[in-house]
Each structure stands twice: as structure tokens, then as C-alpha cells.
């Protein structure tokens, strides 16, 4: 129920803040408390403990001993760690370039179609598929002797491909299936549907072409969503594990060309029970991601009017 105006207030002016009653304050705190405690115990506490453990020779059933910067020093001098970061950055960049733009374009183009076509296309393109099951299927498709893709390539007249066995192209082949998944497009479509049609009508009256309307209306209105999704894409790309792990065996073959930092944390570090080293590398990755995210969010603000 709308509260009546107080003396001195008028429509169009902001009401002065009111003092919350004690009960109201307690109620608000109690509502937030479960989520806060959950986040503290399952989010921040493990992070704080990880920071601590990264300075120890952490062991599962024995108390850890403080070792100072030994773990970090060891990782710093390991050429494979540098290589894992290189692979991770390359994977993230390639993933964003190849798979980030496509859902935006698809969503924009789908909006131009008749409603019944749009619904069918959405159904086909946005089918929820199990990520792991898809990954395993794609692994079979990449088989160089018996895989479907080799069959298609050779019957189209192309030379035999090495797919996941090619150290130069393995990251591309890992990302390739993602180009065909338009899942994030649903979010863009929801944002596009919220843009008033009067904006486009006005642009048409002014003589704007299709692409001009996209550039001056659709993309600026999508900017907050794009900025947010790009943040998730950057973080997700830098934390990638499951796809390369399943497709290229536990060690990121061939020759570590697909071994991301998280894969390196899992194998060989965690696999050899080098828990202190694994935690230290996780902390290093955390710091890198945090720096990149802060820089990115400083440069790219969500508000299109800024």
C-alpha cells in the first residue's frame, strides 16, 4: 500500500530516509543471515584457509608446517606452470572471440524472425544438453580413425585432420563445439525484448538501416548484459577444466598443449599429493583473475550513459 505523503513532501521529490525501528532492523538482518553465513562458510572461509595452506606443506591427516614462500618459489621456477598460464590465457581469449559474439548475433537475428519461427529456432538452438555427455560425444567424434568429423572432412575432399593430436590446434578443437551452443543467447533475447519498439520505429523513420539500428539501439541497450556476461566468460575461461580434462586425458595432451592451470592443479600437483603447491597455484590463479576482472570492470562500465 502506498504510504501517504508527509508534511513537506510533494509528488516528484524524494522522501527523506526514515529511521528504521529496531524490530525492522533485526528482521532484515535475520533474513540476510542464512545466506551470509552460507557464503561465509562455503565461500570465504575456504578461500582464507587456502591462503593459509599455500604457505604450508599441507597434508591430509597430519598438521601442516609453515614453509614460507617455498611453494610459490617452486611454482615460479617450474616451466610447466608458465606454460599452463599461457595455455589458459590462450584458451580464454580464443573462447571469448569464438563463442562470445555468436550468441549475441544469433539473438539479434532471431528477434527479426516471425514469432513461430523464433520459437522453433529457440527450441532447437537452446536445447539444454548435459555438458559432460556432450563432451564425451565430441571426444568420440574427434577420433582420427573412426570419428564422424574425420569422415566428413575426408569425404569433402579435405586432408585427414589430427584434431586433438595437433598441439597447435587442440585448443581450437576444444572450443569448436562451444561455437554451436547458443545458451547465453536466451539472456540476450530477454534483454532485447525489453527494448521499447518505439526506439526502432523512430530509427526507421529517420532512415536508419538494419545494421545501424543494431549498432545504435540494440547493442547499447545490451551493454549491461554484455559486460556482465563477458565478466563471467573471462572468469570461466580462465578457470576452464572439464572440457580439456575429459577430451585430452588427465594431463592436457598432446604435450601439455591443452593443460590449463586448473588441470595442472589437479594433475600432477593434487595427484602427487603436493597439496601446498596445488593451493599456492590456486591462489596465484585467483590473484590473476581478480586483477583482470578489476581492470576490466574499471574500463568497461555497465551504464551505457557513462
Amino acid at each position: 500500500m502506498q504510504e501517504p505523503l508527509l508534511a513537506g513532501e510533494s509528488i516528484g521529490t524524494a522522501a527523506p530516509p526514515r529511521e528504521l525501528s529496531r524490530r525492522s532492523r533485526i528482521e532484515r538482518i535475520l533474513f540476510v543471515l542464512p545466506a551470509f553465513l552460507f557464503h561465509l562458510s562455503w565461500g570465504w572461509y575456504p578461500v582464507i584457509v587456502a591462503f593459509y595452506l599455500s604457505f604450508t606443506n599441507s597434508r591430509l591427516m597430519k598438521p601442516p608446517d609453515f614453509v614460507g614462500w617455498d611453494n610459490y618459489n617452486r611454482l615460479w621456477h617450474d616451466p610447466l606452470v608458465a606454460k599452463a598460464f599461457q595455455v589458459t590465457f590462450t584458451y580464454a581469449a580464443l573462447s571469448i572471440v569464438l563463442t562470445f559474439v555468436m550468441p549475441i548475433l544469433v539473438a539479434i537475428l532471431l528477434m527479426e524472425m516471425p514469432k513461430h519461427v523464433m520459437r522453433w529456432m529457440m527450441l532447437l538452438w537452446f536445447l539444454p544438453l548435459s555438458g559432460i555427455a556432450s563432451t564425451i560425444l565430441w571426444r568420440y567424434m574427434y577420433n582420427t580413425r573412426y570419428g564422424l568429423l574425420q569422415y566428413v572432412f575426408t569425404h569433402l575432399g579435405f586432408p585427414e585432420q589430427r584434431f586433438l593430436n595437433d598441439a597447435r590446434l587442440v585448443l581450437f578443437w576444444l572450443i569448436f563445439p562451444g561455437i554451436l551452443f547458443f545458451g547465453p543467447g536466451l539472456i540476450y533475447m530477454a534483454a532485447l525484448q525489453s527494448i521499447p519498439t518505439s526506439y526502432y520505429e523512430a530509427a526507421e523513420i529517420e532512415g536508419a538501416s538494419f545494421w545501424r539500428k543494431i549498432w545504435t539501439i540494440s547493442l547499447p541497450r545490451l551493454r549491461p548484459i554484455i559486460v556482465m556476461m563477458l565478466t563471467f566468460a573471462i572468469i570461466g575461461g580462465l578457470q576452464e577444466f572439464s572440457w580439456p580434462q575429459i577430451m585430452t586425458s588427465p594431463t592436457g595432451e598432446p604435450g601439455g598443449a591443452a593443460r590449463t592451470v586448473v588441470m595442472f592443479i589437479y594433475q600432477p600437483l593434487w595427484g602427487m599429493m603436493r597439496l601446498g603447491d596445488a593451493t599456492a597455484l590456486a591462489v596465484m590463479l585467483f590473484v590473476v583473475i581478480m586483477v583482470i576482472t578489476i581492470v576490466y570492470r574499471t574500463i568497461f562500465k555497465e551504464d551505457p550513459d557513462v
Binding site: M61, H77, N143, R162, D166, A167, M247, P250, M273
Partner: protein, 424 residues
């Protein structure tokens, strides 16, 4: 070893004596198990009786070998004989590749030429007491080049990253008749015989008696050496948080189930349900050497044929070389991985293009040495030297006794040139 260092395992040494385990096992299997199951002179697990000569076995299509008039492999065969067999079995028109191995098979193949021994000289004076010396011996380049030739030029070996790092996908190819030789174990050969994915089902489908269709052999040896790292078993360990009485109860149960009347009851139960000797004798290699069971007619020979049973028993008798972990104190500090070197092997297997194998091995070695600079052993220099003297003396004696050709040509120069000067 890792589980012990992490403090996860209870010391059950007194129970090994109490249940007279050594007296009940065949001597060569007891020697094998006790070598692989001790840390710092203590036992941290109890075996489940059943074993598999897992490190270094292959299963092959005997019928295809006979069909092509090729020579059937024997235990102790060489890599040269294996390469000829793989090439002879490859039939691209029929869609058959001679052999299929995961991409990590190349370093594994090198190990059967003494790689694990000859490329790791001890250096007690350094913080990490082991180093890697790969590039001073041209034999490793030669072996890698030979393997790549069979893989990429002859196309007689199938290796694909997309098939994963385990045996499962290669076993499916073997089952489908697309590869004729694979690196599988005894459980792959005899396990779950009533299931459609088993080799028994494959033999039934083809209509060929099982012993005529499949054979087993050790991984090809090299330079007169056969790596004998032991056999696989499924040991049981116990929590250090339990009491001695609880450990005793746990060991007593395992012993009754797998070494005593429990085993007979299990086999009799399987026979009662399946009435198929293959189901009963899907496991027939036991540390105690037990072959017959109360209430069960026949033996493994009735299920699989005398030749196959004898072959697996023969493989199980490959001498086990002295294990490093038995002689040296358990390493409490983090240890370096061999990933840098394995990465180079992975590239050699994945890329058919001509490459400078020597330069790649050098890179692997350099990367490993760069990484190892950050490691320090928990064992003192003096303790390490003492353990190294004992270990290498045992290894010297073992190799001299069992592999004289390898000893004279490969091990002795290494031992006298790179080991003794450092540990004397």
C-alpha cells in the same frame, strides 16, 4: 607411499605375522608383495590374495596371428619381434591396426629398456638427491625414433588423444576387432565372462574357442632386460584412528574372506548361480596358489585352457627387481613430477612430422632440471648415501644374475660411471 606420508594408513605389521601371511603365500609372490607393500620397513596394507601380473602384459588375437602365418609371441620377446608382429597384423583393407596403445606407451616402452633405472643417477650432495640424465645416451633417441616409425610410418600402432589415457577405449577397439594387440591386464582378459562386453562373449560371438582366439604375453623386453615392477593387487588398508583391536578384526575379516573358507564359499556361490567355470575362474591367480575350491568342479584349466593358465603363471614369475621405496626412507617433502619429460614423449607420439627427438628430450630434461631446483628431500645426505649404496648393490646383483647381457652393455657402465662416484 603418498597415503602413508599423508598419515592416512595404520601400521599393521604385527598382524602380518599373526596371520602367518608369508607362510601361506608362494615364495616368489610373497617376495613380490612384501617388496611393494612396505614403507620404512612397516606394512600398511593387507592383500586380497588375488593378483594380476599387471605391469607389462599384452593380450593378442591368436586366431589372426595363425591366419596370417605369423610367429606367436613368447614371454621375453623383443621389441623388434613385436614391431614385426604389429606390422604383420595390420590390415588397412579390413580396418585392423596391429596394436593400439595409449599415448603414454612410449615412455612405458622405454622403461622396458631400462629407462627408469638408467636415466636417474643419484646425487646425494644436491638438495633433491636424484637427477635426470637422458641426453648423454643416444640409445633413447634411437628407441624413440624406432617407435615413431612403427607408429607413424608403418601405421601399425594406433594412438589417439581422443581415446583417452586409460585402457577402456582401446579395449573396446580390441573387442570390436579393430586392433589385434593391446596392453591389457588379466582382469581384462578373464573378468565378467558372462557380460556382452567380455572377451568370452566375443569368442562366443565369433564361434571360436576362447583359447584359440586369445593369447597373453609380457610387454616386449629391450636390450636383454625385462622390467619387473611387480604385480597388481587390491590391498586393504586401515585408518590410523582405529584401535589395534579394530585393526585385528578388520584383517581377520579380510583374511577369512580372501585367504580362508570365505574364498571357497564365494566360488561355490558363483558356481551355483552361473554353472559356468569361466564365471568361477574369472580370477585364478592367487598368492597362495590355490586352484581348486570345495563344491566347485574343475579348475581354471577347464575354463581357459592349459596354455593360457600356464602363460599367466609364467608371466607372474618374471623376477621383481629391488624396489627403490623399500631401501630409501619415505619422502616427506613434495617430489617433482616427470611431466616435463612425459610432455615431450606425448608430442613425439601425437605428431607424425619429422622432428629432432634429441632436442625434444633435451628440452624435457632442461625443464625437469629447472623445476627440480625448487625441491629438497627430507632425507639427509648421509642417510641417502647409505640407502643408495644398499639399493644399487642389490640392483647390481639382481641385474647381473638375471640379465647378463643388459648388465654388461647397459647397467654396468651406468653403475660404475654415474652411480658409484656419487655414493661412495
Amino acid at each position: 607411499m603418498n597415503a602413508f606420508v599423508q598419515g592416512m594408513l595404520a601400521d599393521i605389521t604385527p598382524l602380518i605375522s599373526k596371520y602367518k601371511l608369508q607362510e601361506r603365500c608362494l615364495p616368489h609372490l610373497w617376495a613380490n608383495w612384501s617388496q611393494n607393500s612396505q614403507v620404512d620397513g612397516k606394512y600398511f596394507c593387507y592383500p586380497l590374495n588375488e593378483y594380476s601380473p599387471d605391469v607389462g602384459t599384452m593380450i593378442y588375437r591368436k586366431d589372426l596371428i595363425a591366419e596370417k602365418g605369423l610367429k606367436e609371441p613368447q614371454v621375453g620377446w623383443s621389441w623388434e619381434e613385436a614391431a614385426e608382429l604389429f606390422k604383420g597384423l595390420t590390415d588397412s583393407a579390413a580396418g585392423i591396426t596391429g596394436a593400439g596403445f595409449p599415448t603414454w606407451f612410449l615412455p612405458y616402452h622405454m622403461a622396458f629398456h631400462g629407462w627408469d633405472i638408467l636415466t636417474q643417477p643419484p646425487v646425494p650432495a644436491q638438495p633433491w638427491h636424484w637427477t635426470r640424465d637422458i641426453t648423454s645416451d643416444p640409445r633413447w633417441v634411437e628407441l624413440a625414433d624406432n617407435y615413431r616409425k612403427v607408429l607413424h610410418e608403418d601405421k601399425a600402432i594406433l594412438s589417439d588423444v581422443a581415446l583417452g589415457g586409460g585402457d577402456e577405449e582401446y579395449f573396446k577397439l580390441f573387442h570390436a576387432g579393430q586392433i589385434a594387440v593391446g596392453r591389457f591386464n588379466y582382469w581384462s582378459m578373464f573378468g565378467r565372462p558372462t557380460e556382452p562386453t567380455s572377451l568370452s562373449a566375443m569368442a562366443d560371438r565369433v564361434g571360436t574357442p576362447y583359447p584359440d582366439m586369445f593369447g597373453a604375453v609380457s610387454v616386449p623386453s629391450g636390450d636383454g632386460y625385462q622390467m619387473g615392477n611387480g604385480v597388481m593387487w587390491g590391498p586393504v588398508s586401515y585408518s590410523p584412528n582405529q584401535t589395534a583391536e579394530q585393526h585385528d578384526m578388520g584383517v581377520s575379516l579380510v583374511d577369512w574372506m580372501f585367504f580362508d573358507i570365505g574364498l571357497d564359499m564365494t566360488k561355490a556361490g558363483i558356481w551355483e548361480v552361473a554353472k559356468d567355470p569361466r564365471a568361477v575362474f574369472s580370477a585364478f591367480l592367487y598368492m597362495t596358489g590355490k586352484q581348486g575350491y570345495e563344491g566347485v568342479p574343475g579348475s581354471a584349466v577347464d575354463a581357459w585352457g592349459q596354455e593360457l593358465v600356464d602363460r599367466w603363471l609364467e608371466i607372474g614369475k618374471i623376477p621383481v627387481e629391488p624396489q627403490r621405496d623399500v631401501f630409501f626412507p619415505a619422502e616427506q617433502n613434495p617430489a617433482p613430477s616427470n611431466q616435463a619429460i612425459d610432455d615431450q614423449f606425448s608430442l613425439m607420439v601425437s605428431d607424425p612430422a619429422a622432428m629432432d627427438v634429441a632436442a625434444m628430450l633435451k628440452k624435457g630434461e632442461d625443464d625437469w632440471l629447472a623445476a627440480v631446483a625448487g625441491f629438497a628431500s627430507s632425507t639427509s645426505e648421509a642417510d641417502f648415501k647409505a640407502a643408495a649404496q644398499e639399493y644399487f648393490a642389490a640392483l647390481d646383483d639382481f641385474i647381473k644374475t638375471n640379465y647378463s647381457e643388459f648388465y654388461a652393455n647397459r647397467f654396468k657402465p651406468f653403475y660404475e660411471g654415474k652411480v658409484l662416484p656419487n655414493i661412495s
